[in-house]
Symmetry: C2
Subunit: 228 residues, 2 copies
């Protein structure tokens, strides 16, 4: 079973590596990091680079595709070769999936029209101009499209995918192996539990990037024929 994880410049590394750590432990799975242009892809923090070894054209029939997010997703949403590949592989994938703002890339490929989907809390509104129905939930499944919420949700998301692929017992073994027994020292991980001050600060910090996301989502949505 081929699982393709898409990489692009300026991605959020954990969006890709959380799912990798789970899905690479599914018996029989081969995880391949793919990109329109193979090579090293920098994470948004800058200090980390992940290797995309395989060009998109070399992996045309993965059973599962995972699209991570991160600031570079804005450029990925306008990259025709990435969007064309997503549309093509989606015809034969068992599961087409995303983590964080990766769902906006799926949306830009036209794969979320009329579908329920989720995204990072700060960017979830941009699903609508792409024709999707935003759902504030950790993991959302609609048909064979599975979307996960922001960054760290990729682990919850991938355990759910592992259970779908190989059954709950396999997913439980992976959970134990990666000791995923979360115990966050604070309770600020969602917009419901964070204080108003924390929420305002983080929202403010993400505002310029979010403005770009809005523009691109609306422009791409018009191209897809979604009423804006």
């Amino acid at each position: 079973m081929d699982i393709a994880i898409l990489l692009f410049e300026n991605l959020t590394a954990l969006d890709a590596v959380g799912p990798y750590e789970v899905l690479s432990r599914v018996p029989g799975a081969r995880v391949t990091f793919v990109a329109a242009e193979p090579g090293l892809k920098r994470s948004n923090g800058g200090g980390l680079a992940l290797l995309a070894e395989t060009p998109l054209i070399e992996l045309s029939r993965p059973e599962v595709v995972v699209v991570p997010g991160g600031p570079g997703q804005v450029e990925a949403m306008a990259d025709e070769s990435t969007l064309a590949w997503l549309r093509q592989v989606h015809e034969t994938t068992q599961w087409t999936t995303s983590v964080c703002t990766g769902s906006l890339v799926l949306g830009a490929a036209g794969l979320l029209k009329g579908k329920r989907a989720t995204c990072h809390w700060a960017a979830i509104e941009h699903l609508r101009p792409l024709g999707a129905i935003p759902v504030s939930q950790r993991v959302v499944m609609d048909g064979n499209v599975i979307t996960g919420a922001g960054v760290a949700s990729g682990i919850d998301f991938a355990l759910a995918v592992a259970a779908i692929l190989e059954g709950e017992e396999v997913a439980r073994q992976i959970q134990l192996q990666i000791e995923y027994d979360p115990s966050p020292p604070f309770d600020s991980g969602s917009t419901e539990t964070a204080s108003a001050e924390t929420l305002a600060l983080v929202r403010g910090r993400l505002a310029p990037l979010n403005e770009q996301r809005r523009e691109v989502a609306e422009r791409v949505g018009r191209k897809l024929g979604v009423p804006q």
Copy 2:
């Protein structure tokens, strides 16, 4: 503030990337991936490679050092240049830290003698031959040494470190930004919550690697003068 994350061949990527995703968001922090031999380091799944850009000798005074684990930690425990660097930087670090079986590497450098520390649940017993006092806890602090439990604990660990470095409010903002509001679909993440069958299966799978760990920990422990 320089934060050095050690990489080596055959590491568990999430051990390094979980903390990276948190610590790279600490204001003023610069995260650098270092290795005895710079270059691409493969994760144990094989499909992922992370770039270690900086040789150890070029980063001699990081404020924080993070050592991840993974199967390759067995070789790292016997790599004299890595151990010498850890001993040297530990003299001036504010915090010397590890995730997962990275604590066995700190132990092999002689930095855990008489100290309370944790490790991946399957390998925690190997701390004792290295002179450490094993503690089954998600994050353990003793002096300026902080150790985290297995793989996914690196996120809990790093949020605790972020709070120590820059205060709880900063850590809470990072938690919200990476949407770390965990919601595991199953409850098998620890030896207490996993079924006896799941535990036996995973323990069995890890047994050959654990035998290597035992041998190396005992051999290195003798060299460190720890009674075996």
